[in-house]
Symmetry: D3
Subunit: 327 residues, 6 copies
């Protein structure tokens, strides 16, 4: 079965496909019978769905699972929805394997290819001068336990880069931006800036859970990605003989201070230029991506302003772009 | 007379030179006689000076004026000071003319040459594509009333770029940094970012007084450089036929929002990406310059930390630089 | 046709009238057919309305337009609504002209007559002593482009004086209150206080859009009424020969500082008594009007407390008035 | 002996007079002998004084006491000081009696006569309509224990009205201002506003100590004038038969909320218009008086700006007054 | 009739019982007929209920009253609700008397017996050393007007101890905790700490209304429990001959400062150790109880985190308890 | 030589002793000759000292070193000072060894014996039930590298427990207080609370430098004791086989959240009761100790109020203690 994606669903058509169950709620209709109110999704988007007469159908599946669906695409309050006739948990062999690839089919994901981004990052790191920082960065990024998660993790559950591959996309953008900024301020320690930009959010691979839905892990919510990043880095540092103690303090400081202010969750505030640069670039790149995502989400919204952007706490102005469209 | 600069004064030598009077206070010594406690300066630094027996000498000069001084360099509490034997207001012909050049001799100034910086900025602006923004920027920067002050103004009375030529140095740095950042985010409207970076602080030429000492003008303190910048820009906009109204709103928004938050004195907060970029780059460049100035000022201070930096509100860590020195 | 106002609609009656369309939404009923959910209003209030079987009726009108309506007044969840049988865009000759009068029929408006308020304000300004301030105020208030909008503009989209004529009502109240306060503190510069009170919100005629519904213009949201007020004032100042420069600085400072604190959007804080007085009286008059409007809105609400007032951020106590009612 | 006041002391003259000892410190001169460094004051100002060879003179007096002084007026660092030859505690019969009159001679005091101000206040209160509020206000203001202290108390130790009679001056100004504001907003309950303005700070007669120097009493610092005012009012209310319970709640609310915001020490925030009016007028009158006092204090200070005003937290602009002077 | 409690209601059963009406709303069903949407409750919990065809039934009762109900327990959206066939206001003789006992049947209440808690508190107070503090505490706690309300009052309308008897439970916990803390810091004045803990919230018996529903009284909302507590204490102090004035100031300070910070509604901040201890223990005990109540409320909620706790402003982690369950 | 302590120095006596050099500054006297202005200290206090004619004496020593001093005790401005005749760096054999004992002689130190406190703590930990937490705590506290520093470290450079042994004194107090609080709330996990109290500040042994003077280490200032504590704990956890992962998350959370709020430097806020208890008890014990130290420091200060306490940001009331003295 060629999987029909959410973006391909045509109104009033019969369909057969596979989706991830984002949410599932049992409700009672006005005639007293039970029905299921679902949200299904794949990488191209999300759609509402209903299973009428839920008690008659066998519905053994949970949110986060991939299901096989047959039904008809209907329109409700101006939006499409699927009226489901048959639904069942996908058999493993139907879901593309390995698991990571599967997730990329069913969850929102970066427009960039994770493999290609990873290669670009690696290429840049290998061009670093020999030394303890190059060793550290490669030992983290090439770690077999870290690399696959680093390619897959979102950068956040909301706010910015909230999609698979988002963390890597964010880091890669920062590394390339950081190189430009260090070209401009040649007195900065480029390798230290680079180290901060690559490592500052690495703990997000443990802070966030992204198999099925984006949410915090217990450890993520109790400890937080700042300290989790530190833990990963310390683990690798311990294995590098002769890593300078002062340099370790500086890297740890950059990680701890990268949110810029205590009230944003940084237990320390940037105390030297390289830490300040990591803080500002991280913040700028996140907010710019968040603005772009807001414009994309509100493209059909009437008027010249978006709805309230959560990262910035305000509405954004859709200024006309150079080619006449709106941002 | 070859003017001896502050940095050239040798202890225990007789000197004859010209300095700017930074401060002047009349005090009574323990033996009951009056003396003058002065601070003299030129572009290379500042030095304390004393006029003993002040009532006997004719001392007709005020802070902010250039004086001709004869005396001996002494040491007091470990620091050099001048014991003055004769002091008089410089005759105009002794002070190099025109006035602007004169100030550059006696006040702290940028290490960069204002003329060269101005030429670099102009060259960049002339490379902009034809259109209303290019017209606007050139009409401001090339204005006969604005250009000389733009070359001379400090960017602040304290905190960052607090020296003659500091505003232009800051703007030029931002323009070149902005180009790099727009290379990285090609979807940004480069000309609009450029316009914001060039114009955002232009009102400082009216906010600050820098003939003699750096302080706020009445208009500067009552109205502020944000609104003064707007006024200058509006004056020029009125003279450009057919300047798009929507574009004017955007430029004004960038200027009004460039401090980023209401509590920092911006009456609006950045509502589109180009405004956000101007806000972040301005803030980053200012803070980095402030950090470097702090390191320079505290170079002889014992320990690995500077005194409290006013722009950041904290002590800075003097991390070892790549060549083994301290930042 | 005598226009039946919203406040005159009797339940279970057949009606024929004209209203402004405040909002319009297309929905699907449980039987699958489309209907229109409308909010109609005129100056006396607002009412819900429904157009069943929307696909059969020709419904060519948009929110903000005036429509001619036939239907029956029904009751739904205890509130009246109109079940519409016929609806069409009003022909221009049916809507009273000129446009300003028309809006006053269909939007919430001040209980005071704008013309009478305007006359009172003008009379007061003409009694000012001859001089630059009198010239300035009259040139603003009597400007042909400003006067009609000044009479019509609301003072805000919500919070206080959020009705047509609200801005003028607020300013007139302030001018008369200001006179009393200057009687009490005779050392205040009465004309300067007066100038601040008349001009401080004048930019709202450009910040807000009030034809059809109250909302911010793009320019209003990007630039804000504080700076828009300044622009109007500067335009007029430029035309007054010999206006004292120092006085202009003071007026601009009053306008810029009238919100009192940076975090309320003022880029400067009041630095002399007249600026402080304008700030306090503006704030007091706004909040008192907001309290009264809250009491009026919650008059039927059970209990001794209103719902949360948005301007004050708290519930208000309905204290018994002198004649035994509740405030 | 005709008492020579501080403002009458001429340099290089021999004097004999009485002053209040504001501070007294024992120091060691460079030649090793002990001397006393004093600050003396009366209602017209303060002056430094020295007692050389302190160990030889009998100096039995403490700060806060009135002393009889013989000496010579000298000049030290440009300011006058008294070189004391003889000093002794004033005999009671030398200090004018009763004690209150005495304090008015030696401490800063209102330019208005307390007796006259008190009479004006009383006259206004007696014009109130008969009723519980009139009864309450008169019972407080005419109380034998309260009246003398009410006439004498300062309104604060610093910030505003920080002189003897300052509290009464502040209250009287507020009452007269309040009448004007109630004329403007005739729907306000004038008697309730009046009650709030008269009673809101009455606890300051117990919060502050003003015999000798202005400082907080223990009870004032532990409990605060807001709650002390409430206590005084409750004491009087208990004695008025049939005082309406609801009205008592409202008066208490006005007193508790008159600082306007929790962080300013009000445990409640104004919840009805009369409470809001008391809060705003109190704040406005205090800040205006504080500004005027600042201008007076900084009259000789060079430049167009005062030093930092503590009540407002900023420098004030000395705008030219109508008659050409500076504010 | 044996009253069936909410916790005993079985789905699909016919029932006959008495409940308190928590809320009552008249709605229109989709078929156009009116129905009542009720929330009924007793001490064991709350349940939704519907009266179909409301216009036919005589329904003379209001929220806060106890009603006699006949109907059937149904399930709606997975939750039980009562479909009511007959409902009428309970005759007084049906509601257990005296009133206090009645309330305990129908409102949420402490798991501890108020009488037993009161006895424990009294026993502790009687063990205090003879002296003014013992006298004060007993005179408050044993007051005939205070004691019954002290046993019944909740400690808050929400956040913590929001049930009948909650205030006493909170105070008793604090007294016993305070004894332990004073054992640890033997230099604390144990009787003063005890006094603060017993008296700090006593005003809540007047701030809150708890007959029918928990809400603020007018006096409570206008004046607040901090000042109401003070009033009760002062009333009792006045009756104790020779109570030391300094000690009264200290007790008043403890009451006024027990919220710890101005922005939490304390007009004073703790200025000596005993005041600090009362502030910390009160805050700690409240927040711990609030956490426990949150865990209890969210016991069936999936996942390891509760919903947002209002007292702490964040979600709580359900850590596994020692016996394997979740907190 | 029997070492004479600072507290034993009698005015006008000749002395010979050893002290730690706290500060050393070279100054020029009014006659032009250089002198040394020193502050010397030992565990009993600090005293000023002068070396006149500094250029003649060989003065080879630095702040932080112990010196051997001969001189005379003089009085200057009412305070004693030493006029030094001979001064030299102590020979190692003169300074008692081992080093730790030495420091205890020359720096402010806890009144409790560190060895005894350590024994009490250990005894308590050994009474814990067998299990991973007991193992963890003992492995930290008994670690050969940690134990000596744990006995010696101050808890802060200022604010509270700012003396040698202060950290251990604080922790021991917390452990004993924690036991009492867990007795009161028996549902708390006592071992987890205990673990949090013992470990929360352990990183201070690396954050602070206390050989010679109390100041932050570079690593302390860059990384902070919260994260340093975590590092120590993780190091030990790694060595305990089978330590439950969930339990590790909880301990880390307690450490990270023990400052209670983001703006106090905690990157997480307490999310379960045991974390909240650690946060509150730590804060309470620190503030109480800080208050007591303030009372001790200000014992001779006139009036009933201390100077401003830095930990609380306010003056403290010296309430009379039970035995009639002042707190």
């Amino acid at each position: 079965m060629k999987r029909l994606s959410v973006s391909e669903l045509a109104p009033e058509s019969l369909i057969q496909s596979q989706f991830l169950v984002q949410s599932k709620e049992r409700k009672i209709s006005s005639n007293g019978s039970a029905y299921l109110d679902l949200e299904l999704r794949d990488a191209t988007g999300a759609i509402k769905a209903k299973v009428w007469d839920a008690d008659r159908l066998r519905v053994e599946f949970e949110p986060g699972e991939v299901v096989r669906v047959e039904g008809r695409v209907d329109t409700y309050k101006g939006a499409p929805q699927i009226i489901i006739r048959a639904i069942s948990r996908s058999r493993p062999e139907e879901v593309n394997r390995p698991e990571e690839v599967n997730l990329l089919d069913f969850l929102p994901r970066s427009l960039e290819d994770p493999g290609a981004m990873y290669a670009r990052l690696l290429e840049r790191l290998r061009r670093m001068p020999e030394g303890p920082l190059r060793k550290l960065l490669l030992s983290v990024v090439e770690d077999d336990g870290i690399a696959p998660r680093f390619k897959l993790a979102p950068a956040a559950t909301a706010f910015h880069h909230a999609y698979l591959g988002g963390l890597l996309e964010h880091v890669l953008s920062l590394v390339e931006l950081g190189d430009r900024v260090c070209d401009h301020y040649p007195w900065l320690d480029r390798e230290l800036v680079l180290a901060g930009l690559v490592l500052h959010d690495i703990g997000k691979i443990e802070e966030l859970e992204y198999a099925g839905a984006f949410r915090y892990t217990n450890r993520g919510q109790l400890v937080g990605h700042i300290v989790l990043s530190l833990e990963i880095v310390r683990g690798k540092l311990a294995a590098i003989a002769g890593f300078p103690a002062g340099l370790q303090d500086q890297i740890e400081h950059i990680l701890l201070s990268h949110h810029g202010r205590l009230e944003f969750g940084s237990p320390k505030e940037p105390a030297f230029p390289e830490a300040l640069v990591v803080n500002y670039l991280d913040d700028l790149d996140s907010k710019l991506q968040s603005m772009r995502a807001q414009y994309a989400a509100d493209i059909g919204r009437p008027g010249d302003w978006t709805s309230r952007n959560r990262a910035l706490g305000r509405e954004l102005f859709k200024r006309p772009t150079k080619d006449g469209g709106k941002e």
